[in-house]
Amino acid sequence: MNRNYLLIISLLSVGFSACNTPDPVPSQPYDNGVLVINAGNFLDNNGSISLVQRTSTTASYDIFQKENSRTLSGSLSGYAEVNEKGIILVDNSTAGKDGIEIVDARTFKSLTSIPSTEVENPRAVAKATDTKAYVTCWDATGDFSNFYKNPGYVAVLDLTANKLTKKIPVQNGAESILVIGNEAFVGNTGSGMTKITVIDIATDAVKQSIEIGRNPDLVGLDVNNKLWLYAGGEMVRLNTQTKTVETRFKITSPNASKSPSSFTLSADKKTIYFTNSFYDAADGYLQKGETYSFSIDAAAVVADKPFINRLFSGGLGVDPQTGVIYAGLVPSFKQAGYVLRYQPNGTLIDSVKAEIAPSTFFFKK
């Protein structure tokens, strides 16, 4: 393990223990660490959640199964916590069998299962208030000629009653969601829609939609409280107050066939990381690519100098406590993947064996 990393960790833990008052509640097994959301393999319906401690290179596997003696029967598409409740989005390969599991976030014991009849293709979840979460859903999909055939919706999850209370219709292919102040911003994937939807959290109603570009993917809020998106091949910076696009620029690459994905903001919210990949026709369509970064002050991005000379198809995450980058490596969907950890400067720290297709990360305290 790298010395700088140890230094950061020890400083942080000192900092935390110094200002923490003793916790009156006894500590629970899932209070600390990083949850790895393993998507699983689609028809195998074997998504799972592993827990990795920040200082350990081994993981606890399938913690939901461990605590509840049953597996999450589907792929996993998202996880969020609201007021010590964990919300797990489960996408079964059979339409009509998806669901939302609500667990005690500290013990991972199941509190309730939202019946599959109420959500179809849940994609992402965000905390709206201390008692409410928003879940984006595609609704039922069609065949390949018209996959996103239905308008998407945002399901409102009341975490006092542990029930869905409302479905807010939004654009087809509803996917990424970000809550900023009293508003939730909803992006989409695949359907070709070009506007994001803004929802008023107080009324659970759509306020407006904003033209961004094809398939807008929400990246996050930077240090200046500006919302970054990736849409139509461009990075877009949005002023969330005025709802106007302030800037947009292309990510160019010496190899024009590369396409960027997995955008993630650094802990200080000044840098954006992303992967850039392609299937190399000259080499039997082998997937190749690297991980890049750029500053939020950039006026253009040329992806020619990799930040990490490696591609991660499982997605990226950044630990807000340490700035450490978590990268999901998916060798195939029929074997365990790995989580590789990098320092904020791109130096490899270590790797941890996870489960099938480590895709997103949830950083606990």
Binding site: L43, D44, N45, N46, S48, Y61, D62, Q65, S69, R70, T71, S73, S93, T94, A95, G96, K97, E120, A140, T141, G142, D143, F144, S145, K149, N150, Y279, G284, Y285, L286, Q287, V330, P331, S332, F333, K334, Q335, A336, K353, E355, I356
Partner: protein, 639 residues
């Protein structure tokens, strides 16, 4: 093979003396010297005529099944090989779907054919492509024994809301002075709802699985006609139409997923002396669609088949002689598949084969079989096989025989693997297998009507250039893997009589060790030596039947040890499970009228076990099965 198996006594042809089998052609099983071939009891085929081949076969043989659910895609894997490594032959013609290279055993009803044998190990030299792990032979057989007309009506009601009905007739009559005409017509239909409520069920290990709402409807028609000249020449026409529709979420139209699989199969054959000429047409159709507006993706593949064979024989005595079969088969393929682009893909395949069997004396026989296939834009390998059988010990009541076989096998990649837009790879090499096996069989007669047999087979099959849809290359297909499958099979058969009760038992056990031998990427070291996914190390199956007068009781059981679903064995494997079925049958007979009434219980231990999608498989069910027969003339020979 219809033509070669016309008489009932040819049923166990592999064991017969040379004198009995030289009337016409010889079935290919006869050339599978040293290989394990299991004939399925025709009584069992009749009793389970309502079953799909998937439900039936798992209790009969130590093969592994991969099922996506009751009434859903179910494939078979012999001896640790994959679903693509089983040749399914109907009257000698490979009926695997050309696009997928396998058969969905849930779409094949047991009622669709008259005889079945299961062959283990490579048999490419005898039957061609796909027979890397084993082959299944389904045959239609004329019945020239009983004159007149026999009609049949049957139904089955199962508590899980599964319903089956069948009507049919068989006839046999003289047509002029020199000809006899015989035939069979069967129409069948089923609806399988497999309804077990909506509550999840817990296994004994505490895992919870829920049911997937599905409906499978199945209908089909069989038409066989045979004209036999008194000199033995035979015309035959075999027609089999199948139509299977699987609907997932049938009650919620926006969520439903519909897969319709149809097959049209027609064969016309003429056996003149020892020469066979056969033509055939097979159309395989698959339509898949979702939701309200079904605009399904469409797969339609036609095959035009021409085959000719001639049998030579040099028989010196019933114990000494030589059989040689030479043959050629030409097949033209027309594939209209959405996934292959707009262009119709056409290709021709030709197979040339020579099967030689020599019996040195009453104890020793050997075979040498050769096959060379040719495929447009593709080159399958030359596949020989060599087998020997030796009776090491004979006493009036005891016979111990040894057998050995070594063979090469191949699989022509599926049309999907070669023609799928962007992902298919026309440059693929054929998969190649090298199979070796030895066996010993002990047959013991204890008394009149009292005998048992035990056989043990050891096998070793190395399969190279195993194809893999490689995720690192966006799922382009490549020849990447090498698999070694080895193991032991043990079968026990008993026929005995106790007071007036006839007891029949067939037990089988298989131990399979199948593992990856070579790495094929940076993260594959971990797979080497690990049991392949979905291959149970231990399987056990058994059928026991007790018959007393007109009543009989059949008990079926099956056990599978745990199965992994990941190459590196990470995650939780599927738990071992055990299934138990029983059928109580009673036969009523009054003059020309006969009826079989049966009460059948499936999964009597109410075992909860999952399918590949991690949904619960059927729980305990009870069913009533009734067959009515009416014979226009009194039978001369009970069928």
């Amino acid at each position: 093979m219809v033509l070669m198996a016309i008489a009932p006594h040819l049923y166990a042809q592999k064991e017969q003396s040379l004198c009995e089998v030289t009337v016409r052609g010889v079935r290919p099983e006869r050339f599978m010297v040293g290989q394990k071939v299991q004939e399925i009891d025709s009584v069992q085929l009749t009793r389970f005529r309502y079953s799909t081949l998937a439900d039936f076969l798992q209790f009969q043989s130590p093969v592994a099944f991969k099922s996506y659910g009751a009434g859903q895609a179910t494939s078979i894997a012999f001896r640790g090989t994959s679903a693509n490594h089983t040749a399914v032959l109907w009257n000698g013609v490979n009926i695997n779907s050309p696009s997928l290279g396998q058969s969905d055993f849930s779409t094949i009803p047991v009622a669709g054919f008259d005889q079945m044998s299961v062959q283990y190990g490579s048999a490419a030299s005898c039957v061609g492509t796909d027979a890397v792990g084993g082959s299944i032979q389904l045959r239609s057989v004329p019945d020239f024994r009983q004159k007149g007309l026999q009609t049949l009506a049957a139904f089955r009601l199962e508590s899980s809301e599964n319903y089956t009905g069948q009507v049919g007739l068989r006839f046999n009559q003289n047509a002029g002075k020199n000809w006899t005409i015989s035939g069979k017509t069967l129409l069948y239909g089923s609806i399988f709802n497999n309804y077990f409520g909506s509550e999840p069920q817990r296994t004994r290990q505490g895992e919870s699985y829920s049911f997937e709402p599905t409906r499978t409807t199945q209908k089909g028609a069989v038409q066989d006609l045979y004209w036999q000249h008194q000199k033995g020449n035979l015309f035959s026409l075999n027609l089999w139409l199948t139509d299977n529709t699987l609907t997932i979420q049938p009650h919620q139209v926006p969520l439903r997923e519909v897969t319709r699989t149809q097959a049209y199969r027609v064969l016309g054959s003429y056996q003149i002396g020892k020469t066979l000429i056969r033509t055939g047409f097979i159309r395989d159709v698959i339509d898949y669609g979702k939701g309200e507006n079904l605009t399904p993706s469409h797969t339609e593949i036609d095959r035009f088949i021409l085959r000719t064979e001639h049998d030579f024989s040099w028989i010196q005595s019933c114990d000494k002689g030589t059989n040689l079969k030479i043959g050629a088969e030409l097949v033209h393929y027309n594939a209209r598949v959405d996934g292959y682009g707009d262009e119709v893909k056409r290709e021709n395949r030709a197979d040339f084969y020579a099967l030689l069997r020599h019996q040195f004396n009453g104890k020793l026989s050997a075979s040498l079989n050769l096959r060379q296939a040719f495929v447009t834009r593709f080159s399958p390998p030359f596949t020989p096989s060599l087998g020997v059988e030796y009776t090491a010990f004979t006493r009036p009541l005891t016979k111990i025989s040894l057998s050995g076989n070594t063979s090469l096998s191949y699989r022509v990649p599926t049309l999907n693997e070669r023609y799928w837009v962007n992902l298919g790879n026309p440059e693929l090499r054929p998969e190649r297998g090298f199979n070796k096996e030895i066996g010993v069989t002990w047959k013991q007669r204890l008394a009149e009507m009292n005998q048992f047999s035990v056989s043990i087979t050891a096998f070793h099959n190395l399969i190279d250039d195993w194809t893999y849809w490689n995720p690192e290359r966006n799922y382009r297909v490549e020849n990447l893997q090498q698999v070694l499958s080895k193991g032991l099979e043990f079968t026990f058969g008993l026929k005995t009589q106790w007071h007036k009760t006839q007891l029949d038992a067939n037990l089988n056990y298989g131990m399979t060790d199948a593992s990856q031998q070579k790495t094929y990427g940076p993260y594959t070291q971990d797979f080497i030596g690990k049991q392949l996914i979905y291959v149970p190390r231990h399987t056990f199956g058994g059928t026991l039947t007790a018959t007393h007068g007109k009543a009989s009781l059949t008990v079926q059981q099956q056990f599978n040890s745990e199965r992994y679903s990941t190459f590196d064995h990470s995650g939780r494997p599927f738990a071992p499970y055990y299934l138990l079925n029983a059928v109580l049958n009673y036969q009523f007979q009054k003059r020309n009228f006969r009826s079989d009434v049966a009460l059948q219980g499936n999964n009597l231990t109410n075992t909860v076990y999952p399918n590949l999608k991690k949904n619960a498989m059927p729980l305990r069910t009870l069913s009533l099965n009734v067959i009515f027969y009416f014979q226009s003339k009194q039978s001369t020979n009970e069928s």
